[in-house]
Symmetry: C2
Subunit: 223 residues, 2 copies
């Protein structure tokens, strides 16, 4: 079954700007694998390789010193990870787990290095994508700098609304994962959401959120 490898290379922003013969050369070096929900795609023990999501989604997280799961982000089709190990940075303690049936492509470190030399444009593309990725990381770091959980939640909701360009939306993950992402406990998250509801800043039914008063929500961010 080489068809999956084809899909992978042609789908992914990192490669899809190349012409067909060039894509073909890359396909030859790529390995495609399928995972079921809950399976671990990579861990610190895994070999260093570039991991690209072609279908489904991954949860990327770390385990903190005391063993707690620290949610980092969700990787969707086209997203990748593991490129930093190419450049001498060890993947200290990153984990990836399938959130659903997911298809992933792997590219060996050395193969990837060869490709970068062969296709200089690839470097530029990678630089661009890295910049975007670190902008994402940036947002999470900004979250952590906020000492009050109320602020973090307001920032998170405001960001979601901005990205989706909607004032009504569904939370993209479970409360416990959002809590982990915000660096807090599910209990506190639950309470803070209640507080925003009581203050008539949002309404919520399960994961369904409506922002009633964006102005006040953004005032909370500024403390």
């Amino acid at each position: 079954m080489t068809t999956h490898e084809h899909i992978c290379v042609s789908i992914v922003p990192l490669f899809n700007h190349l012409n067909s013969p060039d894509q073909k050369r890359i396909k030859d070096r790529v390995i495609s694998k399928k995972y079921d929900k809950g399976e671990v795609i990579f861990s610190p023990d895994s070999d260093d390789q570039l991991t690209i999501v072609s279908r489904g989604s991954l949860k990327i997280y770390r385990l903190s010193e005391n063993g707690k799961e620290r949610f980092l982000r969700i990787a969707k089709p086209g997203d990748y990870d593991g490129e930093s190990s190419l450049f001498g940075v060890t993947n200290d303690n990153m984990f990836a787990e399938a959130l659903e049936k997911t298809e992933v492509c792997f590219l060996r470190q050395s193969d990837f290095q060869d490709l970068l030399k062969e296709y200089p444009d690839l470097s530029l593309k990678l630089l661009t994508m890295n910049a975007q990725k670190s902008a994402q990381t940036e947002i999470q770091t900004q979250l952590l700098w906020m000492e009050k959980i109320e602020q973090r939640l307001a920032f998170y909701l405001s960001n979601l609304s901005y990205e989706l360009d909607l004032e009504v939306f569904e939370l993209p993950m479970q409360m416990k994962d959002i809590a982990s992402y915000l660096g807090t406990s599910p209990e506190t998250l639950s309470r803070e959401l209640k507080r925003l509801e009581r203050a008539q800043i949002i309404t919520r039914t399960r994961r369904h959120i409506q922002i009633l008063d964006m102005d006040r929500l953004e005032k909370i961010i500024e403390n």
Copy 2:
């Protein structure tokens, strides 16, 4: 005075691997400036440009929502910043300030873009340096995930010691900056240091630190 521009390009890891004629071409596009202690080198209002430190040092920081200064890192000769704006990521709220008499080189965004196309090796070098830089960011993010300040401090000291390969060293910045870097207040930092001293894990005289018991220090990190 074009001599400074020469120094800048030949000193900096990003360019110093190029041969002389190539370096010459870059020199022509580079602008060098000197700053005194306390002067602001760039702010969110500045034009997007690559900023390279050739002499002295910069303090890179953000202002948080509530107006507090959030220390990010010190940039030493050879370090650079502002490359992400090249790739569509806006430099939302980064500031740089000279910590001493400092010399800095600027390279316009468009010029840099041209250079990257002319010298593909530059992209690879930049990818490598970016990876190192994000490893640094990584360490700070790891810090912020630790909820106890005691843990953060232990991690910070342990890291310093590891990087310097010494158990006796000088803290590289003022207490207030360390506090900001660790995401805490100077008061708490002072108290936590005292605590480590009383527990005979470290000794301290001013900025001079000696680690007495690395084992216990690292146990603190794990909570």
